[in-house]
Symmetry: C2
């Protein structure tokens, strides 16, 4: 609960800073978004159809993109679709993605993160964010 409030505040601040408004739809979508690790606009569209049958798909896309700008979500292209990851609820994590069944396993590896910083520094870059995806076959799809 308190976590949701925290995210809601991040959103509120972002909205205030850009002369945007907090709408019923944005609250609804944020609440549902925070309950999950990754979502697709399409997925949320179906999930939320029960709570608000008139919620439009365009609004979901717009709102998820808004979350990205606010630093609450992160867009990731997977296959032909865009996945929106919840990056603020818990620490950053990377993905192991099964090319067979689409299963996504999350992982964190400090050592890799440290090496990334090293590479960035060596090139004079300051990292803001990163994305690491390992594609392969999960145990079940390996035969």
């Amino acid at each position: 609960m308190s976590k949701n409030l925290k995210e809601m505040d991040v959103l509120r601040q972002h909205l205030a800073k850009h002369q945007l408004k907090l709408t019923r739809q944005r609250e609804l979508i944020l609440t549902a978004f925070l309950r999950q690790e990754h979502v697709t606009a399409e997925t949320m569209y179906h999930q939320l159809a029960k709570k608000d049958p008139h919620l439009g798909l365009a609004t979901i896309y717009r709102t998820l993109n808004l979350f990205c700008e606010a630093g609450i979500a992160q867009a990731r292209h997977f296959g032909t679709q865009t996945q929106y990851d919840n990056i603020s609820h818990k620490g950053h994590h990377d993905h192991l993605i099964c090319t067979g069944c689409g299963t996504i396993v999350e992982f964190e590896n400090c050592e890799i993160e440290r090496l990334q910083e090293e590479v960035a520094t060596k090139n004079g870059f300051v990292i803001q964010t990163h994305r690491l995806e390992l594609y392969g076959l999960c145990p079940r799809c390996r035969h």
Copy 2:
């Protein structure tokens, strides 16, 4: 030269194994593909228009996807387009991307690759490919 022959052999073997045929277009596209680091289907379409004005865009897409299946190329979604990377000509590389000016710096880091394998193994996965992108500010954009 000998390298191109090597790739051509990889393709030939893949074709033979799947009852596919080596066509003039496939040779043409492979030769052009091997000369570059990353390409877009659209890019190749324009490049090859001079050599073969009737070469269709669909054929290029089909052929690049074929190269992916043969292990010669690797598809990567970048923005709204698909980039096809030449992964066999030289080693795999990752990207440092400047969020300020869009500059892309390539890098390789064996240690990171090794740790990725470790993570995959720990989760029972067999990695086929991966993608690592570090987003941040380049030296010039840091003020």
